[in-house]
């Protein structure tokens, strides 16, 4: 039955994408613009949405040739605002959902009207004169502008909203600009139903959100998990793992923060390069596990690869940084905390599982070789696939800007290498000859 259903769904989707749009089709895409401004005891929410998204639900007054009868349209616009917007919008003050607002004003506007590019002009437009009755305009080619007014306790309250406008189009985006007292402005871009969004998050809300994000990110990333597995296979005790995991954490934090602050090459080939290097890092680690019984100085190579993985983390984080509010650094560090918690969980599972495996199923050395070989096999495939993507980008030509950027990165690499060298001297001095552990006999 399922086998029959999927081709049907696929066919329906293809027809939807290629058929001429009729009056009652759901639009392919729609953008809803919102301004949210608390002022005194009132929270003003200005919304603009395309009326093409309402044709399924709405009837409207028409005059000759199906032009909208603008003299009679206001009640219908209020209905549209109620049905299409208010039914899908919840606004919260200090965690308490606010009652349905007053619809202070509605307007039908031309889609080319530029008023909604800032709050003041949007407000003036919505409260200003409507289009003249003589204007010739089709419903589907107009936009609905609405001013909602919510009674609030204080403009200093903590506001959040849940805008589930995803039914307005197959691909719907809501842009929200929150204008907090004191001139602070936050811009958000929400795809479809993005759930509850804190408009000006406190540091602990931002931190909480990013810890969860980091935790999920490490658990969702198979390549990061396999890299971790390779790191721990030969060292299944806490003490030798501490410098390795610390090196990985410090390194990926450096590049994650660097790329968030735009210290990253702004070129198309950089993300595929990093993805390829991540695959190489896994392959290298797996190979080292096979060739070397007890790799020494693993923390150094782990640090280098950690730098690469940090860039990888940042690619997944870019779209979410808008939820950090004014707590960018806190959010980044929280993301790292989430990543560490995820890593710890993975280690807590990997280490005992490997110990059990090597005790009861197969000898340790053979087990390390077999597991590493499987991981190396997968990493090799990733490496080849990702390199093929990378190769599609032409090699960069040498320009003054490119050379300057390369020199900057080279300087950073020299500083990093110097720090690593100093750290390794310090570790040697600290552990002295005592750190020479007796190699395990296999």
């Amino acid at each position: 039955m399922a086998a029959l259903r999927w081709p049907g769904l696929l066919l329906a989707a293809m027809m939807l994408l290629t058929a001429p749009v009729r009056a009652h089709d759901i639009p392919i895409d729609a953008v809803v613009r919102m301004f949210v401004k608390p002022q005194g005891q009132v929270l003003r929410v200005l919304v603009r949405m395309p009326l093409k998204s309402t044709t399924e639900d709405m009837e409207y007054p028409r005059r000759e040739r199906d032009f909208v009868d603008l003299a009679k349209v206001e009640p219908f616009l209020r209905d549209a605002a109620e049905v299409a917007l208010l039914n899908s919008l919840d606004v919260y003050e200090d965690g308490r959902v606010l009652p349905k607002p007053r619809i202070a004003s509605v307007r039908m506007s031309l889609e080319s009207d530029p008023s909604f590019y800032d709050y003041n002009s949007a407000l003036a437009h919505v409260l200003g004169p409507p289009l003249p009755d003589s204007e010739t305009l089709y419903w589907e080619q107009g936009v609905l502008d609405v001013l909602f007014e919510y009674p609030i306790r204080s403009e200093r309250s903590y506001f959040s909203l849940h805008a589930a406008f995803n039914r307005l189009a197959l691909h719907e985006v809501t842009t929200v600009q929150f204008l907090a007292p004191g001139g602070v402005s936050r811009a958000l871009e929400l795809e479809g139903d993005a759930g509850l969004v804190h408009l000006d998050p406190s540091w602990f809300h931002a931190a909480g959100r990013f810890v969860i994000m980091g935790f999920n990110h490490i658990l969702d990333g198979t390549d990061h998990l396999l890299f971790l597995l390779c790191l721990v296979i030969p060292y299944r005790q806490v003490r030798p793992l501490i410098p390795i995991i610390t090196a990985f954490t410090v390194a990926h934090s450096i590049t994650l923060i660097a790329s968030t602050y735009h210290y990253v090459p702004d070129v198309l080939w950089f993300p595929p390069l990093i993805e390829t290097l991540i695959a190489m890092s896994i392959f290298y680690m797996a190979l080292e596990n096979i060739v070397v019984q007890r790799p020494s100085h693993r923390w150094i190579i782990t640090f280098c690869f950690g730098l690469v993985h940090g860039f990888g983390f940042s690619f997944g984080l870019q779209q979410s940084l808008q939820f950090a509010g004014s707590h960018l650094l806190t959010s980044l560090l929280s993301f790292n905390v989430g990543v560490e918690l995820g890593q710890l969980l993975v280690l807590c599972l990997f280490v005992p599982a490997l110990n059990l495996l090597f005790r009861y199923v197969m000898p340790e050395r053979m087990g390390i070789i077999i597991i590493s070989a499987i991981v190396a096999h997968q990493a090799w495939h990733w490496m080849v696939e990702r390199f093929a993507v990378l190769e599609r980008f032409p090699r960069p030509s040498i320009t003054a800007a490119g050379v300057r950027s390369a020199l900057g990165w080279l300087s950073a690499a020299v500083v990093m290498a110097a720090l690593l060298w100093l750290t390794s001297i310090a570790i040697k001095g600290w552990t002295g000859s005592e750190q020479q552990e007796t190699p395990k006999s296999y």
């Binding site: 293809m14 031309l110 080319s112 305009l137 300057r404 020299v414 060298w421 001297i425």
Partner: protein, 414 residues
């Protein structure tokens, strides 16, 4: 001390310090060079987006792609000439000779991701579809305007975005004059003569622009006529028109363009664009005269500039788009003979640089015919003759102008 100097660690540490010092010194030197370069001329930099748009469904292919426009949602609309401009090998489905391909509908809408959205067009009840589609424009109410430059095309059409017919201005065949010579150039056909002082009909209109402030449509009219005509955008009633330098247009046949001769006092067909800037100046493409003329909305001549004046026959000034900064500092000009997009300083009308080259790969052109710009400043071009495609060029910020001919804007580096 000697022990210290000789020590391995000291040497490694000194190596790090010296390397770093050398790198910083090189960087500083380059920075000084860049600062000097930054003082020089800057212009917007573009790279081709080879992945836009996505492939068309239904084995559809484009014919001569003869117009492009961007609407308020940043959707890209194109018009093309369909089956009559496809070779027999491109429309095997029509001839029951194979599985590939057939012409797409004339009007196509794409989103920013390159997906095909609406598609419609062609003859229908209540209006006369042009023999040869030419130019597309989306006005401030979201209506779609279309011109035509086929032999009998003397009309322009207005539709809703869904393809519902709204308005026809001019009657097809109105320029028919028994025994009239064919003339020369694209769309030339015997039996038709220019009528640049006709208040009701056009002469193979090339492009339309609608001024939202006055609700007036400016018509680049055209391949047979030699004027810019201005209409009420709702009723289609003609309000005024003018020729080159603001003169009364004259349809007397002109000799072929010769750059060594004094400037022609009339437009030399086709008048290929008539677009308004933010400061309400009308820029008219006098294509075969290789010049751009600037007017007030009432047709008073302001200034002109010539581009690549050795370009004969089809001319160098095909279409323009204004940059998206508030002052519209730049004009992007399609030149379909030399296969370039010229970047022009709007105030001085001086060409700063250009990109593109002849060819069929992404970023190259074959007869780049029309150009439009979205709100992000990305450019869209369409190509006629055998070019038959639409391309997108992504804005990559400002860059110093190091040479006039940038060549193919391939996305090689930052």
């Amino acid at each position: 001390m000697k022990d210290l100097i000789r020590s391995r660690n000291f040497l490694i540490g000194a190596g790090f310090v010296l390397s770093l010092a050398a790198l910083v010194a090189c960087q500083t030197m380059l920075d000084h060079g860049s600062a000097a370069q930054a003082q020089s001329q800057q212009a917007p930099r573009y790279v081709v987006d080879p992945l836009w748009p996505k492939p068309l469904p239904n084995h559809w292919v484009l014919g001569m792609t003869i117009g492009v426009a961007v609407d308020a949602d940043d959707h890209i609309w194109i018009i093309h000439r369909g089956a009559p401009t496809l070779s027999v090998h491109e429309k095997q489905i029509d001839n029951n000779a194979g599985d590939c391909c057939t012409a797409a509908p004339p009007v196509l809408e794409f989103d920013q991701a390159g997906n095909l959205l609406r598609h419609w067009g062609g003859p229908g009840p209540g209006y006369e579809w042009p023999d040869s589609n030419h130019g597309i424009f989306i006005d401030y109410k979201g209506n779609v305007w279309i011109g035509g430059n086929g032999g009998p095309d003397s009309e322009i059409l207005k539709f809703t975005k869904d393809g519902k017919f709204l308005l026809q201005v001019g009657k097809k065949g109105a320029r028919r004059v028994a025994g009239a010579a064919a003339g020369s150039g694209e769309g030339a056909a015997a039996g038709f003569a220019g009528g640049s002082n006709d208040l009701l009909n056009f002469g193979r209109a090339a492009k339309i622009f609608v001024d939202p402030k006055e609700n007036e449509a400016y018509i680049a009219d055209g391949y047979l006529n030699k004027r810019v005509a201005v209409l009420d955008a709702d009723t289609g009633k003609m309000k005024r028109y003018w020729g080159a330098y603001g003169h009364k247009p004259d349809d007397t046949p002109m000799p072929p363009y010769d750059p060594s001769q004094p400037p022609a006092q009339q437009f030399r067909s086709p008048v290929h664009c008539a677009d308004m800037s933010v400061d309400r100046l009308i820029y008219a493409c006098d294509r075969a005269n290789d010049r751009l003329q600037v007017f007030t909305p009432d047709g008073v001549f302001v200034k002109e500039a010539y581009y690549h004046t050795n370009t004969k026959e089809n001319g160098s000034v095909w279409d323009i788009a204004f940059s998206k900064d508030p002052e519209q500092k730049y004009i992007f000009m399609a030149d379909g003979v030399n296969d370039k997009v010229r970047i022009i300083d709007r105030q001085s009308l001086k060409e700063l640089t250009n990109f593109g080259d002849g060819g069929r790969q992404p970023g190259e052109f074959h007869a780049v015919h029309s150009i439009a710009i979205d709100h992000e400043g990305n450019l869209y071009t369409t190509e006629t003759y055998e070019g038959k495609r639409v391309q997108r060029f992504l804005l990559k910020g400002m860059a110093p102008v190091t040479k006039m001919d940038q060549g193919v804007p391939w996305p090689v580096s930052n």
